[in-house]
Structures are given as structure tokens and as C-alpha cells.
């Protein structure tokens, strides 16, 4: 038996006192269990992790984490310090679009069975500088990359057509200029 999961691109309703859009970057030991420690810091303090990107650093002893989080803004400073306090965390800093480059990527699978609609979908993808990375008679997968707002708009426009599913990487950030992240 197959299971159908309904998907939508609606944003969750804002919760009072909760703000999203904070991006933290962490440099951590590349070891089992490190993510568990970090996630507990957020869960305990009722923060939601909206996105999470983890990958091994150039030095394989370390990993780089980028977290998009939402929660009580008054607690953000606390959260950063609590994370920094973990023995496995080398450093933890907040980044804003002003001081860092933010990139996000989405894969969108759209039903597009030829004709006009197919052309329209291709135009939207092209407009956002995306690429089709898979193409069949009935569907295509588009890859769109940019800051999170751009990716949001692309998905919004594509949702006028039939989106089968989306998979998003979540934000990665890098400090601008010579400054290390």
C-alpha cells in the first residue's frame, strides 16, 4: 500500500513572540553525537530549527553547520552562548544578510505535459536562473539557487502549476570579505 503525503508551500502561521530568519553558523567537531547535543540546546528552549546544513570541513576533523532558526528573539543571545559552551563546538556566530552571503537551493518537480504550460514553466525557471536537471514526457525537475527570498518566489510562481514535490537544502552562509565565517 502506498501512502500519499499532501505537500504545500504555505508558510506556517506566525506564532506570537516568535521570530524566524536567524542564521547561525557553527564550526564543530566532526564526531557522532555532536548534532544531538546542539539540537537539544534548541529544543529545550522552544526554538525551531527551520533549516540545517551540515558538511565536513576542509579539515576533516571539523564540520560546518548552518542553522536557520526561529524562536523568542530575547533568547537568541542565550542560545548562541549555550551552543558555544558545548565542548564540541569550536565557535558559533549569528550572521545577517548584511555581513554574509546567504545561499539556498531547491529542486522542484513539476508536472508539465507538453504544450503551452510546459513552455511557461521553462520560462519561469529560466527567469530565476534555474536549470532543468531532469526532463520526462510528463514532468521535469528544476534546480533553482539564490538567497532564500528568491527561492521562495520561484516556488511561489511554480506553484501555479502542479508541483509534485520540492526538496530544499536550507541556507548556507559565508561571511563577506576576508572575514572568516
Amino acid at each position: 500500500m502506498s501512502r500519499t503525503i499532501a505537500t504545500s508551500d504555505q508558510k506556517p502561521k506566525p506564532r506570537p513572540g516568535i521570530v524566524g530568519g536567524h542564521t547561525l553558523s557553527m564550526h564543530v567537531n566532526n564526531q557522532p553525537g555532536v548534532l544531538m547535543r546542539i539540537c537539544q540546546v534548541f529544543a529545550r528552549r522552544a526554538y525551531n530549527i527551520d533549516s540545517l546544513v551540515v558538511s565536513q570541513g576542509r579539515d576533516p576533523r571539523f564540520s560546518r553547520l548552518t542553522l536557520g532558526i526561529s524562536g523568542d528573539p530575547a533568547g537568541l543571545d542565550q542560545i548562541i552562548k549555550q551552543c558555544a559552551k558545548l565542548v564540541d563546538v569550536i565557535h558559533c556566530t549569528e550572521h545577517t544578510p548584511a555581513d554574509a552571503v546567504v545561499r539556498d537551493m531547491v529542486l522542484v518537480k513539476v508536472r508539465a505535459e507538453g504544450g503551452e504550460r510546459r513552455t511557461e514553466v521553462l520560462q519561469i525557471i529560466e527567469h530565476f536562473g534555474g536549470k532543468t536537471v531532469d526532463l520526462t514526457e510528463n514532468s521535469m525537475i528544476a534546480r533553482i539557487e539564490g538567497d532564500s527570498e528568491k527561492v521562495d518566489s520561484a516556488i511561489r510562481l511554480l506553484s501555479n502549476y502542479e508541483i509534485i514535490e520540492t526538496v530544499r537544502t536550507g541556507k548556507v552562509v559565508m561571511a563577506r570579505g576576508e572575514q572568516p565565517t
Partner: protein, 576 residues
Amino acid sequence: MPKEQLDGAQALIKTLDELGIEYIFGYSGGAALPIFDALETVKSNIKFVLTRHEQGATHMADGYARATGKPAVVLVTSGPGAGNTITGIMTAQMDSVPMIVITGQQVTWMLGKDAFQEADIFGITIPVVKHNYLVRDTNDLPRIAREAHYIATTGRPGPVLIDVPKNVSQSPFAGELNAAIDLPGYQPDEAFDIDEESVEQAARLIAMSRRPVILAGHGAMIAGAEKELMHLATTLGCPVTNTLLGKGAFPETHALSLGMLGMHGTAYANKALCECDLILNVGSRFDDRIIGQADKFGANAKIIHIDIDPSEMNKMIRPDVQIVGDAKAALKLLSSHLKPLDTADWLAHLDGYKKKFPLSYKKQGGLRMQQVLDELFDLTKGKAIVTTDVGQHQMWAAQFYRSDASWNFISSGGAGTMGFGFPAAIGAQFARPKDIVVAVVGDGGFQMTLCELATAVVNKLPVIVLVLNNHYLGMVRQWQELFFDNRESGVDLDGNPDFAKLAEAYGATGLTLKRPADIRKRLEEALKARKKGPVVINAECIKTENVFPMIPAGAALESMLIEPPKHKMEKPVGST
């Protein structure tokens, strides 16, 4: 000659020995067998103490550490053995106590398969440790043991757990016994690099103050800042209040001492906090037990916060000046800026409060815990190590057994763990065999860990257990009386054994105390009898006495009740 072949467990014990570990408290079991065997096969100075429950082992290690500042090791088996240590680890973490907990574990290839006595103790304990390890390579054991010791004892101390699968401890060791620690994310030395600008800012605020109060916490003691604290207080002419865990950092019998503040603190300490114009917090984390309602705390005062843990800054209270770092180093820097303050009026004013609202109790109408503790203080001249359990007796012990030196008052503050007092006393007695150690416990809490009587008896420890027996879970009953129309629910300890007889059954001395007139005599008997081993005094106390002063949980310090309220009380907003 070939080097002697060690296995992982032997390498581990050798490392612990080199680290100066004196005691391992523990309980054996299958997954820990290689480590227990290494205790026999490796020549070391480590003494092993078999407890009667793993929780007891953790509290003993805790008591040992709080009596010396040095860590002890807890060694238990996997699964249930490891599980039984959680309360003790949490207790140590809440109170910043160094401890190394070593748990046996299933063999690595069975992890994640629900194998016999497998428990993910690494995952389970993440929220209650300073750091923890699951060892996967035998050769890592010495490095990890060294790291655990370093992490447990430096910076803000805390418990570190090392989970050791049986194949890891049992395999041949081919690593480096002196392997260096490798902790790029842990830099406790930064605590000694204090921002001088903030110290100068603090000095400027202090110089302007006319009604200052120093708030001394556990951190002052851990940093060994007692002398600097004394210098600070006496140079400024500044009164000092202390937290429960800060008892002894500044002598409570000193004229400048206001004793303990907070929920059951002295009236004059709390009043001083309400009326002061400056709070200089040295190593306290502004716990909710002492600040009450956060937004009203120190509302008219400038606040300076010295804490080694940056995450304590702005957590409960937003200070005017933050000094992140070691308390001793910070006070040393501060001392070069200090000039005497004109506090004569302020001190006289507070002396008025001391006279008007002293800690007191009635001497008629039965045996009161306060009086027993007061006389214990007189008889031992305040020199005993007092450990407490949790409840009314704990608060009275804090009030009446004034502490003049650090490391002498041992109590579970942050966690409020019942069952802590007696095993902690055992640990303290092992640590300081020549000192008088008295466990002040309630009839409720004592029954949670009294199986350790056997541990105390076989080791002939001269520990005194003073059971302040009100046949109630007294502190909870007090809340029910005050806030729940005296509806008693789940607080009657009907069925208590005769603690004196129970002690005798274990081979300890059992004494009974019923009348106020006999207090001194009975305590003297206990001090004599302890030479033969543990002594339990069953003190039959008034059942329904309440602890005052009291600040209802979550309420501002201003709402302190100095005596029983005449009107019905609202339910408190804060927890317990």
C-alpha cells in the same frame, strides 16, 4: 624486555591513577568486568568503594568533590547500572561539581540492537553532563580519561561521563598512555583573561554606592576567592550575603555577613537586597530561589555580575556590568581600584533588621529541628562538615548551622535531590577522615538512600546521621498547609521504621532523641560513639512546624513572609 601488555581497562586505571584519582565509588556488573578486573591487576593508589546502589555512588563522588574540590570517579555497569546514576549526575551538573562517571557498555558490534543491558547512556545523559564520550577505540582510553578529568575540573566544573564498551576495555592496548588532550572547542584558560574595561566600570559603580551588598555564590568558593572576598568586603565596609552553595565563601559569623538570602534566607539579607543600591554578585548564577520575581530583583540597584560562564550573563538578570571570568582573578583586578565606602548608616540600618528579625524559634512545646541544629552548631563550634538532604531540615540547617569556611556545607541546591545527604556525607568522610561529618537528613530523604548504611559500616566511617524525623514530607506538607488549604496529599510518612533500631541492624550505633533537654547529651554521645563507626540519631521532632522566612516561589523578595501568614495565601506562580 618486551613492554608489559596492557588491556584497555588497565590503561584506563593507570591513567586515572596518574591523574591523582583517590577514590572510585561504584557497583559491578557484566559490561564493566574488565575494568573491575583491572582494579585488581593494576598497582595503583586508587581505593575502590562498593556502594549499595549506583545513585549512592554518584552522591558519594559528589560529596567527596564538594569536600575537597577534587573529583572522584564513579564506576558502574551498563543498562540499569548506568541508568541509576542519572539523578546523581544531574545533581552534580546543576551544582557545578566535578565528577567522572565511567559506565560499562555492551560490545560495540551489538550497539543499537537492543542487546542485553544495552542503554544509550551517551544519548540519555547529554542534557545532564558537561561533556560525555562513547569510546570506540581502545587506544583512545587514556586521552579520553585525561580530557574528562580536564573538562570536569576546569572552567565551570561539572560531571563528565565515559561509556566504555566491553570489547574496548578488554582489547589489547597499543596506544600512548601519555596521549595529549585534544580539545579545540574548550578553552577554560580564557577565564583568566579578564576584560579590564569592565572591571574599571564595576569599580566606578562601586565607588558611587552607599548601600552596596556583595552576593557570594558557589563560584567564589570554586575559584578559591575567599581571601579576595574578605578583602573586598572589609575594605569597602560592604555587607555580604551568600547563596546556599556559597555558604562558607565568606564567614557567616562575621559582623558583615547577612547569612543566606532567598526563599528561606534571613529577613535581613532579603531586606538588604530590596533596599540596596548596588549588588555585586561574585560567582552566583542568580538562581530563581534567590531572585524570586526576576523583573523586580534589584530594580533600584546597579548590578555587577562576575561569572566564569558567559552563558550565565543576561540569563536571569541583565546586569549593568558583566565580568566574565574566574572570580578570584576578577576580584584581584578589582581590588586595586577599591576605596572604603561610606556605609556606616547602611550597616547600622541593617543591624537594626538583624535585631528586629533574627532567626529564632520557640524552645517550648517539643523538639524542634532548629534547636537541634543550633545546638549542633554550638557543640561542634561550627567546625563540622554538614551535608544535608532536601526539605525543611535542609533550610533550617542552612539557617542555623552557620558556615565559616568553604567546603564544609554540602547540599543539593540546583537539583534539590532527596537522597543526596547521607551518601554525600560518606563521600565527604572518605575525603576528610579526620573531620566530623554530620548528615542532616529528613525521614523522607534518608529512606531513599539509607541502604548505604552498609557502605558506611563496612568502611567503619565515623559519620553521624542526624535524622530530623517529623514523620512527614515536611516541606511539601508546609506548602499544602500554606497554599492548598492544609489539604494533605501524599505527604504522610506513616510506616517509618525505627531509625535507631534500623541502624543497629546494620551494625551502626542507633540513638534516639525526643526531648529538647536531651539534645546536647545525645549529640555528645554520638560524637563519642562515632569512633566505633557510623551513628544514626533518630530525632523525633514536632510534626507540623514550618520554615520561615519564606518567599513564595516566583514572588518578589518584597513579599517575604517573616512569620506564618494570618490570611489565606494565593498559590505561588513559580514552581516548588
